[in-house]
Symmetry: C2
Subunit: 266 residues, 2 copies
Amino acid sequence: MASFQKIGVFDSGLGGLTVLNAICAQNRGLSIVYFGDTARVPYGSRTPETIERYAEQDVRFLLSKGVEAIIVACGTVSAIALPKLHQSFDLPIIGVIEPACAAAVSVTKTKHICVIGTQATVNSNAYSSCLNRIAPDCRVSGIACPLFVPLIENGFREDDPITQLTVERYLAQIRNTDIDTLILGCTHYPFFTNAIRAELPGIHLIDIGVALSQAIKQMMPKSGETRENDVEYCFSDKETSFQRFDTNHLKSLPKGEIHVINIERF
Amino acid sequence: MASFQKIGVFDSGLGGLTVLNAICAQNRGLSIVYFGDTARVPYGSRTPETIERYAEQDVRFLLSKGVEAIIVACGTVSAIALPKLHQSFDLPIIGVIEPACAAAVSVTKTKHICVIGTQATVNSNAYSSCLNRIAPDCRVSGIACPLFVPLIENGFREDDPITQLTVERYLAQIRNTDIDTLILGCTHYPFFTNAIRAELPGIHLIDIGVALSQAIKQMMPKSGETRENDVEYCFSDKETSFQRFDTNHLKSLPKGEIHVINIERF
């Protein structure tokens, strides 16, 4: 990874900023182009065909910026489109599934892991396929939580009663099971960490952004690099909603230029 | 209207089906192409520039199907993009704003009307501009309800406690005011009619689809037409979520062929 001068990071929208934040907190001297497809967010309720088509356009845009490796900072794209992207493009493309599964396996004692994500992510069985491969003794359950992203995107905080009722609704079925590890399979979900922890005290939570950034760090030789990370932010719609987010989760993001591009041209 | 052989009806997604349902309930012998942009829904949280660009593509697609007039069955597009569409295209394009405002003016006694809709719709001031023109003695308030569409699209019924808490949250500020008429400024909202009525008993509710279909009916001479309406359904993503909806609101929709098209090509 250290030999790459420039990497691309993309998501369907703003959720990937939590991954970018984790990458920036763990690494120095990276030159990064972030792309958020805010004109077409959310991906998680669309069909696999459409998600693959969008993901290919996202990669083609990042290639046009000269990136040499790509981080898929989107749970849905990582779950649905990664095989297709590996087939279509000849550069390293790294998704969140494998690092998240490895992190879950390293902490589970009961060997029963649950993944929460968008409908498309849960339907894909990507996490169970990966877990079956790296830890065949683990069982995997999946729960789609399609209202979490709209809640977060519309500024509902995790201590809001509507958020809490929704968290309770989706996660009630985990109580009184032997599940001890929960993968937050969507890059938006870290914004609800405390609400989820309140509903499921004592459970191990896997933040896919943190898992991914640790995997990236391990791939990089220690370089003594001290230069600040340099980030260019690109969106497919004019992005005015940074401030809607709880920026406590985005403290390591450096400032950078913001550009709007037409993703349909790629 | 009677002279048009074929009309187009479009929406950002499935909400426009409530408008189509109202049109079909009130008219006979129409040949209709419905387009729902399910690959890019929702429009209501995007910028005006992006909404205009998407609306122009939607119209170009319907023109390619040979329609001679277009009904904008989307509250957001009607509020944001109608002037641009009238400028760009030379066929009748009818939105929901004017019929909805006329219907509201005909029932309000206190002359204080509220519009609920997406963030883009409320920001546009389209309803207040129209009401100022046709009834300058009316006052207009607006409330954005951005969580209603995700709730409906994700199958939350109106008697669900999460729905009810959200309805209560958004509409609480209307209680103890002199507002007596509420325009449901988004074609999804009729699915929440009963929940809204429970929160605001006695208020006049204006369903923009019903208002629009009555306006269309008045434009058509009585023809004695008895032929069933003929509808072709087109979507930009494979549409599998009809069944998520409460189909009690869609009883007048005829069956028809369903096609998937790539809207980015238009």
